[in-house]
């Protein structure tokens, strides 16, 4: 990669950063080369994930939180993920709509479509984080799709994960139902201007798994009114406290190690599969499948043949 582009990205020039994200979204060798050049300059940014059911106020909260970090002299970037239609591939990326007051503040907002990725994020999110990290943003806020169920990928990428809840979404705690309570480092009951916020907060407290280790992090339960910016200072303080806890206990490095462990394994799986199959003709593959279907051979035998081939 040319050194001019590298320094433009490192200086956080919006055009260069935006185009770099487009390139990592497209993938392929170009994306790899870009990431390879940027990687040595990453690892500084605090990565904060925000997840929760649709309509709980994630975008509004991210908007308020970004403003708060800005008053604390932080350079802030946002990645907001929305789902792609599985049928057409199209997407309406509507999070930016709730982040109007960030215009002209230097806060970098990028909307991403999930492009078929399950788990609440887009496949390119981890590379987009690296681009923004290399661009010297201090804080990177990530808003997940918010479809609920099993949306736990964010916890792998973020140093601090915020799980959002709102009163009046029925009696159930949505996060509990979706199995995402476990990933919360900070729990937020947003829309505290509505009835039932205290009851929701109490229910969350009750459902927190009590870690027997006294020194373990206990996720605080906070109340916010994102729309009015209320409780956002306290939320930023709780995030800072969590980051401090991670640092003091060497957990930040541990979290990263776990994530790179996963990433390396997943990459190897994809690459090895590709390598082993790239020279296999479609007819050969079909023959193998036929052999299995007609019970002449079994999957293990075929897999062995491929691996030894």
């Amino acid at each position: 990669m040319n050194s001019q582009l590298l320094s433009q990205i490192q200086n956080g020039e919006p055009l260069a950063v935006a185009r770099a994200i487009t390139r990592v979204e497209r993938g392929g060798n170009d994306a790899r080369n870009l990431i390879r050049a940027l990687f040595p300059y990453t690892g500084r940014a605090d990565i904060i994930g925000v997840t929760g059911a649709p309509g709980t106020g994630k975008s509004t909260l991210v908007n308020a939180l970004a403003k708060e970090f800005r008053t604390r002299e932080k350079r802030v970037a946002i990645i907001a993920v929305d789902p792609s239609s599985p049928f057409t591939g199209g997407a309406l990326l509507g999070d930016r709509f709730r982040m109007q007051d960030l215009a002209g503040t230097g806060i970098f907002i990028r909307s991403m479509a999930s492009r078929g990725q399950l788990g609440g994020l887009a496949a390119a999110v981890s590379d987009a984080i690296l681009v923004l990290d290399a661009a010297q943003f201090d804080v990177i806020l990530i808003e997940t799709v918010g479809a609920g169920q099993g949306e736990v990928d964010i916890a792998k990428h973020a140093h601090t994960t915020i799980v959002l809840e709102a009163p009046g979404l029925g009696d159930d705690i949505q996060a509990l139902k979706a199995g995402i309570l476990e990933i919360a480092d900070v729990l937020v009951v947003n829309k505290a201007d509505r009835d039932g916020a205290n009851a929701t907060a109490a229910a969350l407290e009750m459902n927190l798994n009590l870690n027997p280790d006294k020194n373990a992090w206990r996720p605080p339960v906070l109340k916010t009114i994102a729309l009015q910016g209320k409780g956002i200072g306290e939320l930023a303080d709780a995030i800072a406290a969590h980051q401090k806890y991670l640092g003091e206990n060497h957990l930040r490095a541990k979290k990263e190690a776990a994530r790179f462990n996963d990433e390396l394994r997943e990459l190897l799986q994809r690459e090895l599969l590709h390598k082993k199959l790239q020279n296999v003709a479609a007819e050969q593959w079909q023959t193998w499948i036929d052999e299995i279907t007609t019970r002449r051979r079994d999957v293990y035998a075929i897999a062995e043949e491929i691996l030894n081939g």
């Binding site: 055009l15 239609s85 109007q100």
Partner: protein, 139 residues
């Protein structure tokens, strides 16, 4: 690269509150497989240019029914140029008198669509223009 979804910003500049058309267009583009960022009404030219830049969109679509297009559109195109975001297809729609269209074309708005436009037509227009551009860039 042609399988990368087309990214579009649909924006409403100025104080114009007519947002039905913009929403119809945004939805039609989404249904045609595009990734559409809709930022709502009351966008200043600065907000539009900033969003186009950060989102690195392929297309900027402006919707306006207030009659202020000849004031607002040139500001948008100037800011895009200033920021170096020149690789973008510009389209517009709304209440735009025929006699203004040549001026908008000269500003870089390749397609201008008025009331009653079939959304299929404007989707096809954007797809065809983008196919041309991507073909050109690939060479």
């Amino acid at each position: 690269m042609s399988d990368t979804p087309i990214r579009v910003l649909v924006a409403k500049p100025g104080l114009d509150g007519h947002d039905r058309g913009a929403k119809v267009v945004a939805r039609a583009m989404r249904d045609a497989g595009m990734e559409v960022i809709y930022t709502g009404i009351r966008q200043t030219p600065e907000m539009i240019a900033e969003a186009a830049l950060q989102e690195d969109v392929d297309v900027v679509g402006l919707s306006i029914l207030s009659g202020a297009h000849l004031e607002l559109f040139p500001r948008v195109t100037e800011l895009l140029k200033e920021k170096g975001k020149t690789d973008v297809l510009l389209v517009a729609g709304g209440i735009i008198p025929d006699e203004d269209i040549p001026q908008l074309n000269a500003m870089g708005f390749t397609g201008v669509f008025g009331p009653g436009t079939n959304t299929n037509d404007l989707v096809k227009f954007v797809q065809a223009e983008m196919a041309k551009r991507r073909m050109h860039n690939a060479q």
